[in-house]
Symmetry: C2
Subunit: 233 residues, 2 copies
């Protein structure tokens, strides 16, 4: 029998500040098991990594200047909406600069390297619990063609970003046409279903993923599509 997957919101976490150790807080708030994947929101990571910067809430240009300084390229602009490419290679609104769930007068920037952020959390969880778990740092991005945002992975550690099914046969014994599945984005989306946007739940545990996915992983190397291969920027 195939196992179900369980997605557990991590409750009781404090409002995080620069220098807080996410692994300590998470290990203290939930009983982890080997093979779990812990999903942590970008907002929590940015706060502990000191990625908050002051903005003037009454001056929209203050936010706009920040968005442009975090962009390597402005990809599209319409009205107030700015789609940029970030130094990480992400295409997203406002370079990922975000005012929600941040103290008034501040904006949160993306982590400098969210794969590294994920590794730090994974290493901390291993030190605290002795368990090997995967970690996904998630953020909320819009996308082309479809309305509404979904959560995606911006960093991973100890879990695959993309699995390669090349050579795998389908249920009828034929080679699969679609071979690269972005499980890290799917894990981030599953976690968002329990975290919500308005509740103070910055982490979730996804229990029961395929153990074969628990390997070294990297959003930067596996998910970010090189510009030369991208038909839509």
């Amino acid at each position: 029998m195939l196992s179900p997957l369980t997605v557990i919101p991590v409750e009781g976490l404090p409002e995080f500040r620069e220098g807080d150790v996410l692994a300590d807080a998470i290990a203290g708030a939930v009983a982890l098991e080997a093979g779990d994947v812990v999903v942590v929101t970008q907002k929590a990571v940015s706060k502990v990594e000191g990625r908050l910067v002051a903005v003037d809430p009454d001056d929209p240009l203050s936010h706009k200047a920040l968005v442009e300084s975090e962009a390597v390229r402005i990809v599209r602009r319409r009205g107030d909406l700015i789609i940029t490419e970030t130094a990480h290679g992400f295409l997203c609104a406002n370079s990922g600069v975000d005012l929600s769930n941040v103290e008034a007068g501040f904006a949160a920037l993306l982590p400098v390297d969210a794969d590294r952020s994920a590794r730090r959390i994974r290493d901390g969880l291993r030190a605290r619990t002795g368990l090997a778990v995967g970690v996904v740092v998630s953020d909320t991005f819009g996308r082309a063609w479809r309305k509404g945002v979904t959560d995606v992975a911006i960093g991973v550690a100890g879990v695959a970003a993309v699995i390669d099914l090349r050579g795998t046969k389908d249920a009828l014994g034929r080679e699969l046409e679609v071979t690269e599945v972005c499980v890290a984005d799917e894990i981030a989306s599953a976690a968002e279903l329990v975290m919500g946007k308005s509740r103070a739940v910055p982490a979730a545990v996804v229990r029961g993923v395929d153990p074969a996915w628990l390997r070294e992983g990297s959003v930067a190397d596996e998910i970010v599509r090189p510009p030369a291969e991208d038909l839509f920027r």
Copy 2:
């Protein structure tokens, strides 16, 4: 305490054929509960709806002609990769025409109207079980900018496609900036994590979604971004 979400693969389903009743098979294979969301793959829906068409497996042009006939517009083309816009307004590879998990010599087309397909399954499940459940018809799409495919919703019934958090406050009491979350795509992605690509598991049950999401829904009306609003086609 917040509830966890559980994603249960529906095992023991038969290989579906035209005319089979998906609701009967699913209700017989899994014990549903009120408030569940049942995710069914496009492939299963297309099979029971007779959306298989003959192709010559030795003639790539046979598949290509089908892809073009299912497109209202070719959006991009590079080598063998064709991104099209379908009559539904979806942007995807090969107009959603797919040879995997289909008998040799046939290709599966997308359902004509997957919201209607989802309503039919929901109505059948209600008739069989007396329970009100949501239904998502899922398919596997690539996307701009990010490598790997993920599962998304192509039809829904009895569950929101996009929830609107406008007016909702964040954990610190500020208005949210991001207000429209595509929960149907997140539910489809969560289900894919247990369905895999190579296993014969064409359905999953997502248990524990926010009851407020269980309302009438429509991918066509809520997710498909009108061309005039789309910056990337």
